[in-house]
Symmetry: C2
Subunit: 147 residues, 2 copies
Amino acid sequence: MLNFCQMKKETIVKNSRLKALGLKETPARLAIISIFEANHSPLSAEDIWKKIKNKKVNLATIYRNILSLEKGGVLTRIDLRKSSNYYELKDTLHHHHHITCSTCGTFEDIELCDEGLSSKALENSLKFSKILDHSLEFFGICKKCKR
Amino acid sequence: MLNFCQMKKETIVKNSRLKALGLKETPARLAIISIFEANHSPLSAEDIWKKIKNKKVNLATIYRNILSLEKGGVLTRIDLRKSSNYYELKDTLHHHHHITCSTCGTFEDIELCDEGLSSKALENSLKFSKILDHSLEFFGICKKCKR
DNA sequence: TATTTAATTGCGAATAATTTGCATTTGAAT
DNA sequence: ATTCAAATGCAAATTATTCGCAATTAAATA
C-alpha cells in the first residue's frame, strides 16, 4: 500500500471516510466512489457496473457496497419512479433534486433550496421526533417529448 | 347493470372518472379504487391484493390496474424506500407526504403545504417546461425504534 | 516482514417484485 | 341480441436484488 505522502489527496479523504465507517478500502469500493464523484447524477447498480466493467467487479459486490455506503451515509437513494433504484453521493449541506420525464425517463439535476421543510414536517408528526433525510423529486414531460 | 338512480353516489363519481379515462368499470377496478378511498395511506400491490382476496382478483390484474390508474392520474406512486412500490390516490389540490422509519419501516402521513416548490424548480430547469407532479418524502427513526 | 483474522469478494443459485403471452371472459356500444 | 375491444386469470418469463459459501484480501498485530 502507498504511504500517506504518495497518495492522492482525494484518496486520503475517501480512506479516512471509509475508515471512520469501519469499512475497508478495497479497489471495488474506491472505484464505486470515484464513479459517483465523477457523475453528479443518479446512478443505478447496473449503471455503475457498466462503468467499471473492465475492472471486473461483480454486480453483487456493487449491490453490497451500495448498501453499506448508503447505511454509512455516503450515498442516498433517489426515487426516479423507474424499475430500479438510483443513488448519488449524499451532500449533507445542499440537497440535490431532479426532474424526471414521465415519457422518456430522462432526468435533470435541479438546484433548489428547501431548508426548513424537514422541521415543518416534524411539527405535524406524532410518531417521529427526528428527521434524518428527505427526498424531493419532480416529474413532468421534457421539451423533447412534448413536441 | 344498475341504472343511474340505483347507484351509490361515489360509484357514479368513479364511473364517470373511469369513463373519461377510457377505462371500463370492472369489479376489480372498482374494488381497487374503493380500497384506496378507505385507506388514506400508501398501499403496495400486495397490500391491495390481501384486502381484496375474498373477491378473488388476480395479482397480475392488480398490477395492470395500478398501471392504468397511475397513467390516468388517479393514483400516484410513493417512494418509501422499500423493496416494493407504494401508491395512493392522487390529490391534485393537496399533496400528501409521509415520514418513514429507516429502521422498522413504519410510516406516517404528513400534512405539509409545499406550494411554489414546483415553480421554483422549473425556474432552474433547462430541459423541462412543465412539471406535472412531485414527491416529497421524509425519513427518520420513529420514537419506538429510538428507545 | 510474517501471521492472523474478520471483512470482502466472486460465483451461482435463490428470492421478490413485476410483467407478459395467450386463451377466455366481460363491459358497453350498437 | 350481437359484436368487439378491453380486461382478466393463469402460468411462465423477466428484472432487480439478495444470499450462501468457499476463496481471497485488507489491515491490525506480533
